[in-house]
């Protein structure tokens, strides 16, 4: 590839990739009442705060935002803890048939969500968990465990077994070995797993629209879908402001912890 061709190609791609982001910001700035009925290419005003407030209060993104924050943080943490314990059992402890346990837990991440939905709905309707926060938290945790388990297990197999031996000889219990030897040493791996699962739960739409309905239970992506339909007539500024709100947490995580953020998905390529 000639140097010039290459530079033109790369520059073209950068522009193509930036245009949608630019339009997102510029049109979210436009005052909703002054929206001209067609997309603006230049800054039409500065009503971002107002649009954000409409999306947050009137369109109900706010309630869902808090609910989703709860789901992502709690389920991310719970899943990482549960997965780390399982990885500890499979890698370090003398569990019988470790490969069986591995596949049992890991298989949860192979299947598309669709195969779980109908029975989950029935199960939740019977157990009174439909449209409750605790119900969504349970299913999100279960959904987040398999891949977190995979990431943490990979990390744990790279640790020298001498560490466990030494701790055992010093008379440490399993619990002590787990909390004082393994957890501190794979802190970065645990962080990567948490960020990955936080993002996965935050971005979920399908479980949200299937297992919940009311605004204060619905996760944020489901709320954005509702907003997208409800404000279709009044125009894009409020919808795009909503899209900005729901993207902010993952975008900030990405920009601050880029290495950890990508580590989850790139783990399989190394």
């Amino acid at each position: 590839m000639g140097r010039l061709t290459r530079n033109v190609l790369v520059a073209g791609c950068v522009v193509l990739w930036l245009i949608p982001l630019y339009l997102l910001v510029v049109n979210a700035l436009t005052p909703a009442t002054e929206y001209a009925g067609k997309p603006g290419w230049t800054v039409q005003g500065f009503a971002l705060g107002e649009n954000l407030r409409t999306a947050w209060d009137v369109a109900g993104i706010g309630d869902s935002f808090q609910a989703s924050l709860l789901y992502s943080v709690v389920c991310g943490l719970a899943a990482v803890l549960v997965a780390a314990m399982a990885a500890f059992a499979v890698v370090v402890l003398p569990i019988p048939r470790p490969a069986f346990w591995f596949w049992l837990i890991y298989s949860g991440t192979l299947f598309p969500l669709q195969i779980f939905l109908a029975p989950l709905f029935g199960l939740y309707a019977d157990a009174g968990l439909y449209d409750t926060r605790i119900g969504l938290m349970l299913v999100y945790t279960a959904w987040a465990v398999p891949f977190a388990f995979f990431l943490i297990r990979n990390q744990m197999t790279t640790m020298p077994p001498e560490l466990t031996e030494a701790a055992l000889l010093d008379g440490a219990s399993f619990r002590r070995i787990f909390w004082h030897v393994h957890v501190p040493l794979i802190r970065a791996g645990l962080g990567a797993a948490f960020i990955f699962q936080f993002t996965a739960v935050w971005n979920d739409l399908l479980l949200g629209i299937t297992l919940s309905r009311s605004p204060d239970v619905q996760p944020v992506m489901a709320a954005l879908t509702t907003l997208n339909n409800a404000y279709a007539s009044t125009g894009p500024p409020v919808i795009l402001a909503g899209a900005l709100i729901v993207s902010a947490p993952t975008l900030v995580l990405f920009l601050v912890f880029r290495g950890l953020f990508l580590r989850g998905v790139t783990a399989s390529a190394r």
Partner: protein
């Protein structure tokens, strides 16, 4: 393998005084291979059952909320079920799939998604990774391309809805540069609704492939490239015969992930077209949802879900095999250290 394994790797991170203290008894210490551990150091480790409580929470979550629903779905696909009454019909649901024109269209759309994802995000990812490799500001370019990856597909879909509607940005640009004839009702007719959604997902998904390919490129030893350059290889020949073969491992992962993700694509389509108009842009993931939760054909929806699952698992098999070389054999954990 002997009764007790001697660790292959050096004591590394362990403090020297500890190493000295445990050296004499080292051979009696069980190392991770469970059955050996149960014999040699069983009393110490509390027997094989001591580990179970550690795995049980994970198993409980996955078993109750994922594996049980999975099996229940398979079982339910043999029933005619409208959510209130159900009747055993054997393989009827699967027989119906074969004659259902909507399922046929859905399968075709799914194939278009897979082919389109392999063609656009994977190829563009490879191209951009090679183009920005060792380029000045290459890191910045990669950061910009991967930025949409940090945005959810729901938000991406909302943004692209704004661009693809009939009076959206895309048509505005086409009119602006005098290509009025090219303007389309992008989301209202098949096949351009499926195609434009594939483009929208390309915007989001390419960045990840760039990052993955970039990791692969960095792993290519410099010597190989220099040797090839000395032998007179450059440009296309260098890429075809040196770079590409070395990227094989990464390519397997990227292609596997691209196929699986395109099969699972739901959010984008649900928001942009809801599978419509008149179910023309549905993929299997959408058809299942519509049949089970909008039309209350729960058994039929489960049958579609099972077809989708079989396709997903079969197509991820290639890269799964690579991903876990040490668990597929049945000896399980820790082979990395015990092998030596």
């Amino acid at each position: 393998m002997t009764g007790t394994a001697t660790p292959a790797s050096g004591p590394g991170a362990v403090r020297p005084d500890r190493v000295r203290r445990r050296t004499p008894v080292r051979r009696r210490v069980p190392v991770r291979t469970p059955h050996q551990a149960a014999q040699a150091g069983g009393g110490r480790l509390g027997g094989p059952l001591a580990a179970l409580p550690w795995a049980l929470p994970a198993f409980a979550f996955v078993g109750v909320l994922l594996l049980y629903p999975f099996l229940r779905s398979v079982y339910g696909s043999f029933f005619e079920d409208n959510g209130f009454t159900s009747r055993f019909t054997g393989l009827d649901n699967y027989a119906r799939l074969a004659d259902d024109p909507i399922f046929g269209r859905s399968l075709l759309n799914t194939l278009m998604w897979v082919a389109g994802t392999l063609l656009l995000p994977v190829l563009a990812g490879l191209l951009l990774a090679v183009a920005t490799h060792r380029m000045r500001f290459g890191g910045v370019v990669q950061l910009i391309i991967v930025l949409p990856f940090a945005i959810s597909s729901t938000a991406t879909a909302v943004l692209w809805n704004f661009m693809l509607t009939s009076d959206g940005t895309v048509n505005q640009v086409l009119r602006g540069i005098g290509l009025d004839g090219w303007t389309q009702t992008w989301l209202l007719e098949w096949p351009q609704n499926t195609l434009s959604m594939i483009v929208a997902s390309t915007w989001q998904a390419t960045g990840l492939n760039v990052v993955l390919f970039a990791i692969g490129l960095r792993a290519i030893p410099r010597e190989t490239v220099e040797a090839a350059a000395l032998d007179g290889a450059s440009g296309w020949r260098m890429f075809r015969h040196i770079t590409l073969p070395q990227l094989r491992a990464v390519t397997v992962v990227v292609v596997g992930m691209a196929i699986v993700n395109s099969l699972k694509a739901f959010d984008m389509i649900w928001i942009l077209t809801k599978g419509g108009p008149s179910r023309s842009s549905e993929t299997l993931a959408l058809s299942m949802y519509r049949e089970a939760f909008r039309l209350f054909h729960v058994g039929y929806g489960s049958a579609i879900a099972l077809v989708l699952t079989v396709i997903v698992v079969a197509s991820s098999w290639m890269y799964l095999r690579r991903q876990m070389p040490d668990t597929g054999t049945g000896t399980g954990t820790g082979t990395g250290t015990v092998k030596g």
